[in-house]
Symmetry: C2
Amino acid sequence: MAKQKKSQADKGGLLEQLKVPQGPVDLSTYDTRATPGFTGTKDEGKLALENLGAELSDWQERLFAEGRQDGQRSVLLVLQGMDTSGKGGVIRHGAGLMDPQGLKITSFKAPTPAEKRRGFLWRIRQALPGAGMIGIFDRSHYEDVLIARVRNLVAPPVWNRRYAQINDFEAELAANGVTLLKCFLHISPEEQKVRLQARLDDPTKHWKYNTGDVDERKLWPAYTEAYEAALERCNGPEAPWLVIPSDRKWYRNWAVTTILLETLQSLNPEWPTADFDVDTEKKRLAAT
Amino acid sequence: MAKQKKSQADKGGLLEQLKVPQGPVDLSTYDTRATPGFTGTKDEGKLALENLGAELSDWQERLFAEGRQDGQRSVLLVLQGMDTSGKGGVIRHGAGLMDPQGLKITSFKAPTPAEKRRGFLWRIRQALPGAGMIGIFDRSHYEDVLIARVRNLVAPPVWNRRYAQINDFEAELAANGVTLLKCFLHISPEEQKVRLQARLDDPTKHWKYNTGDVDERKLWPAYTEAYEAALERCNGPEAPWLVIPSDRKWYRNWAVTTILLETLQSLNPEWPTADFDVDTEKKRLAAT
């Protein structure tokens, strides 16, 4: 572990390493089974994840405390990826290491008619984390340039305008103290097939299976193209995309959690100073 | 552990053991340092809590899965207690063992003017858990018969009517599939003094301290009376109160978590059966 931490620091951290560079994006050049920044085995990866818990919780509490006083800062982790890529798994195993009181988790399904009428960003704004909180989006406003584009849910000029609208929105968030982390959980179609098969084979996983999953799967190339467009066109310096190789679940969980930890460390929230006189309060308390 | 489980089962579980009997309530008869249902040491208690994690998560996922299909059931854990009694600690250490995706945690502060205008139960209804979810209230509608009564925030006839309104509300919840668990985290005034002192002594805990805490502390007898009234008057069979001895943090965390586990077990949610033909789907998937 000590060695890995040092080697990541040399490279400016895992976050810098997994950031999508500006310019055109070709997802076929990203290896879905790679484990950048980690050289150990699966078991070592699982242990490394567990070992992040104490430090992560500590930083989370500092951010939370800052938010309870004057702080306005928050973190927003956006999780996107094809079905079975592990958005839920990252939340369960990574975010699950933290105090749930400091998390605001939102899972976005197909928008309701009422939500649609209010514009695609309305429900996203409703779900933003408050000061000191870590927001997590399981799917997000990106669905409005992913499934909406692939499935022709809106006309091309409509989804085409949304990239600029998203960039404006995310710049506004950054200006309001929200640190954005957008993670694309990148799996191969072969790995997806294995995972869907596993859901069909195990009766305790049937509830996770949707007959629409196979239909979506057939549109893999179109989704890849839509993801590439989103990663290229909405990749501002304050709202970076990261590609997380996700064929290995343990690596995916460790990587996203590590990036979250690095982000909290770079925010470096301080414990708030007392807004009361400590000695006076000690005397008042002693007198009770 | 095995021995303890058996002994609890003999008594109908920890939940039954900690339930407040019908009739007048005298909190002075409840020992705040007791550890009913647990005979081990502090370290054993902490370990026993950790050991509940896997089973608790499994039952939580079953309830969640049920809610994703046709189920309407949910659980609502209400945490009440004097300042420093450990409402946040229970959430961090107990609820923190579960998947945060299945939790809906709400911390109630003083109501805003807009909330007050809508009646005291409005904001509570907004925060109810959806199907399959475990809701957790850090403070609740009971504040409206606790601080509201002690501090004369409303006239006596107003708070006096609220007990019946709460009973109606909770009966409605039960009829809608919400299993209510109301836990009073019972600490002694001496233990509170130690904990407030610790917050003043540690600069990383100053943010948790509020000068109003000492003022509230001076009203301990009035709060005790208000709690006794709430526990007596709102203790219907489907919305029971439990007194959790809470001077020992490790016991408090273990006890509330154990009660939650027992509740999930008694709900006994089943994995949903497939609403599709498994063989057909296997063939469709194989063809992709």
